[in-house]
Amino acid sequence: MNKILQKLVMLQDLDYMIVEVKSKDVKIVQKKMGLKIKGDEKLHDARNALEQTIPPKVLSKYYKLMERFGRAVAPVVDNKCMGCYVTLPKRLAIRELGNRELRNCERCGMFLYWV
């Protein structure tokens, strides 16, 4: 799997996690579970450290996409980009092939990750 793609998936998941731990609904469920979430500083540190390892051009695109769509990496399911639902070229139907390189959807521009 392409290493930068793997980092982008992690970065987006961490960005979602940071938002989620602050949400009311999550706090209610965590309370029901008897769990306490400590400060999210560690999450911020982890995502910032990860960010440093991503090439600036890729990172800049990540932020642009996040700003525009609220996400930058779109999962690919049944060879469809789940960002805009366009069907991708048949040659990319195998996930090992798709994830080998960093690719963007030709329609919406999101980074593609074959799940």
């Binding site: 998941d13 989620e20 999550v26 029901k32």
Partner: protein, 152 residues
């Protein structure tokens, strides 16, 4: 969420009757690897790293010998739950400091609306001492299914 709906998230290929690992990290790694080998995720390390970071915010050991490691990730197509048993129990830094024997790993896509409802329902089920005791004796997925479907 009805019991039958809760049960619909569990699948035979996502059941580990006995975990091999004997540390917190090892358990997370083994369970994440199971997800990869059963083709539920493409790369186990993505899930493992995320779950570790979630554990860094506080253990998901809810007490009474149960842990529910959970996270959201685009690495999964839909909500998945992996049920595993470690009959000897391990230190999972639970709230009550008791060893954990039952593990329910829950991973859902970022915008899955059933995720929190499912977690809530699962906790409800697992607070019942009788059920927990019976879960520990389970040797097959069929037994698990029968037990949960009998719960009112």
């Amino acid at each position: 969420m009805k019991q039958s709906k809760l049960l619909s998230y569990f699948h035979e290929d996502l059941f580990i009757p006995e975990l091999r690992a004997s540390s917190k990290d090892g358990i997370l790694k083994e369970m994440a690897a199971w997800l990869e080998s059963s083709k539920k995720v493409y790369k186990a390390s993505i899930i493992y790293d995320l779950l570790k970071k979630r554990e860094g915010l506080g253990s998901t050991g809810i007490g009474g010998g149960v842990a529910i490691p959970h996270c959201r990730s685009i690495a999964v197509e839909k909500l998945i739950v992996l049920f595993a048993i470690k009959s000897k129990g391990i230190d999972f830094k639970s709230t009550d400091k008791k060893p954990v024997k039952l593990f329910f790993m829950v991973v859902a896509p970022p915008h899955d609306v059933h995720y929190l409802v499912f977690l809530g329902k699962l906790v409800e089920l697992l607070t019942d001492r009788k059920i927990k005791k019976m879960l520990l004796k389970i040797k097959s997925f069929e037994e698990f299914k029968n037990l949960v479907s009998e719960v009112k």
